[in-house]
């Protein structure tokens, strides 16, 4: 039944066999989940955010459970762009669509990573992490200040000819404004949202549960917020949007498509079920078939009005 449905989508010049990607930081470098999921079955995967140099993360505790979600403050621990290109990419099976996530504490760092990735054939596009909720400098600052965001997108667009997705923070007053800034600077697409800035307290020890104090909330708890932001951004811009936030099932993913996302990323769900992304990709095609849509792309923005 689902075989008849055309699942292909185009995410800002990155062609995907189906609209399901795995989210940055939740799927390692792609090989960690290889025993559980054939990566060529899903649209692709977004690798852990890369910095110019390898980076050591925060001291533990780095994670904690939260109501219907989790808090994390990993602090972008990564192998660095050089080791990614040299060791991690070649370890991936052929036919896997890879989007590299880039991060820096200033625009020049992002540009440096993008330049290193520019000629690498296995990289289908880059996602600019302008929104990490718990790193001391960089990330979220870019995602919260329209002028800094504009400068960042401009710098990255100059540094690479690859498709550029900008991953936005939900910790803003107007997501529409941020989306327009990115579109104005030539971003090829948007990914939203990153984790929601949050914290929790262990009353027995009278301490924050995370050593870092602040963390990022992810999982089902943030899904309605993410959905709202994807919908608002989709109203504001015409570049494609990749919806992220608490997607656990195909039904959740379909909600994002209906609100205007052309693709989705699965994050925290991978931890519970390392086969989640494949299950969700199959389920979206089944839903399209059941609802009489010959192409998954026809679901995008197909929200009926009351």
């Amino acid at each position: 039944m689902s075989a008849a449905v055309d699942t292909k989508v185009d995410l800002g010049g990155i062609s995907l066999r189906n609209p399901v990607l795995t989210a940055s930081g939740t799927f390692g470098y792609g090989t960690e989940l290889a025993p559980f999921l054939d990566l060529t079955r899903i649209g692709g995967f977004v690798a852990k955010s890369l910095t110019p140099q390898p980076r050591i993360g925060n001291p533990p505790p780095r994670i904690a459970e939260a109501p219907a979600g989790m808090l994390n403050a990993i602090s972008l621990e990564n192998v660095g762009v050089e080791a990614f290109v040299r060791d991690k990419l070649p370890a991936l099976p052929d036919g896997v669509t890879v989007i590299a996530s880039v991060f820096g504490t200033e625009p020049a760092h992002y540009a440096e990573v993008c330049k290193r990735l520019a000629g690498v054939p296995r990289v289908a596009g880059v996602e600019v992490n302008a929104s990490c909720p718990h790193v001391k400098a960089g990330g979220i600052e870019f995602g919260q200040d329209p002028r800094a965001l504009a400068e960042l997108v401009r710098t990255v667009k100059r540094a690479t000819g690859q498709p550029v997705l900008v991953k936005l923070s939900p910790n803003v007053t107007s997501i529409a404004e941020m989306a327009r800034v990115c579109e104005g600077e030539g971003a090829d697409g948007l990914s939203l949202v990153n984790a929601v800035q949050a914290m929790d307290v262990d009353v027995a020890r009278r301490r924050t549960v995370l050593r870092n104090g602040l963390g990022g909330l992810s999982g089902p708890a943030i899904r309605p917020i993410a959905l709202r932001m994807v919908w608002q951004a989709a109203q504001a811009v015409s570049i494609p949007i990749c919806g992220i936030g608490g997607i656990m099932t195909a039904e959740d993913a379909v909600k994002f498509l209906l609100c205007g996302a052309v693709a989705v990323q699965v994050g925290t769900a991978n931890y519970l079920d390392p086969a989640a992304a494949g299950r969700i990709a199959d389920g979206i095609a089944e839903y399209a078939a059941e609802q009489g849509f010959p192409r998954v792309i026809d679901l995008v923005g197909a929200l009926e009005s009351w």
């Binding site: 930081g25 989940l33 533990p60 459970e65 994390n72 925290t268 389920g283």
Partner: protein, 279 residues
């Protein structure tokens, strides 16, 4: 020090919906769970699984969200090419409380076997196996696997007789066994480190294996180091994924960087850990 022979690489992990065969209280907060798992590749002592109680396929359970790490207590072949995987667990909080509600015939998602197993000491080595709290569940397979010639002695500590896991199973293994309880309700009164100190003082121990609360493992590591004896610990950090994808289970190393407990451990040589930095 006796050299540690290399072992075969652990089997690739699987994700499966396991069927609950039995799930019962052992008295107190301790429970025994038996799962039937199709396609189970077999595990090596020290490895663990991630269990998602109450969540199978598209049936959702958003809260508590994360799977819980549990040691493979023991395993054996079952009918139809499946394996039976046994877990001993203690009710600590919401996740393990939910686990008690899984009835025979129901399914639990299992991911595993995960992590690096205990390196087995050479047959000629003399070993001490020290367990406390839920850590006892990680050690049964090890004691079984250690060669009889290595004369493994087992030291188990608990708050009280009720809290002690798997006492009868360990007793049935026929190895020398010392039990300590803090309230004196079983065995020696006090901490398990007391018989450890006595055994180390004999001067004939080659290797110490330890799993339990962090302060207990740290004390074992320090006593072993003072005696010039190699010590392996199995850490019980909080985990989100269990397979190296979230980077949440970091344990600090002396060099200032981090090991991942799920991927590089949970078994570590005690000197590989910067104990002051563990939460």
């Amino acid at each position: 020090m006796t050299s540690i022979p290399s072992q075969a690489a652990p089997a690739l992990a699987i994700r499966a919906d396991a069927e609950v065969v039995e799930n019962r209280s052992e008295g107190g907060a301790n429970h025994r769970l038996r799962l039937r798992v199709q396609g189970w590749p077999g595990s090596t002592p020290g490895q663990f699984v991630m269990l998602s109680p109450g969540s199978v396929g598209e049936v959702r359970r958003d809260d508590p969200l994360l799977p819980r790490p549990m040691a493979v207590y023991r395993e054996h072949p079952a009918a139809g090419g499946a394996a039976e995987v046994e877990i001993l667990y203690r009710v600590e909080g919401r996740g393990t409380a939910l686990l008690t509600e899984s009835a025979p015939g129901e399914a639990i998602r299992i991911v595993g076997p995960l992590g690096q197993p205990f390196p087995l000491a050479a047959a000629a080595a003399r070993c001490l196996v020290v367990g406390g709290g839920t850590g006892v569940a990680s050690l049964y397979g090890l004691v079984e696997a250690l060669a009889a010639e290595s004369r493994p002695e087992v030291l188990l500590g608990a708050r009280s007789a009720d809290d002690l896991m798997a006492h009868d199973d360990f007793a049935a293994l026929g190895r020398p066994l010392v039990v300590t309880t803090e309230d004196g309700s079983l065995g020696e009164t006090g901490l398990v480190t007391a018989p450890l100190e006595r055994a180390l003082a004999r001067g004939d121990v080659d290797t110490v294996y330890s799993c339990g609360p962090t302060p207990m493992m740290r004390a074992c590591a320090e006593l072993a180091a003072a005696a010039g004896v190699r010590c392996f610990v199995s850490l019980e950090n909080n985990m989100a994924c269990g397979f190296g994808a979230c980077l949440g289970c970091a344990a600090p190393r002396p060099a200032g960087d981090y090991a991942l407990v799920c991927r590089d451990g949970p078994v570590f040589e005690a000197s590989e850990i910067a104990w002051d930095g563990l939460p």
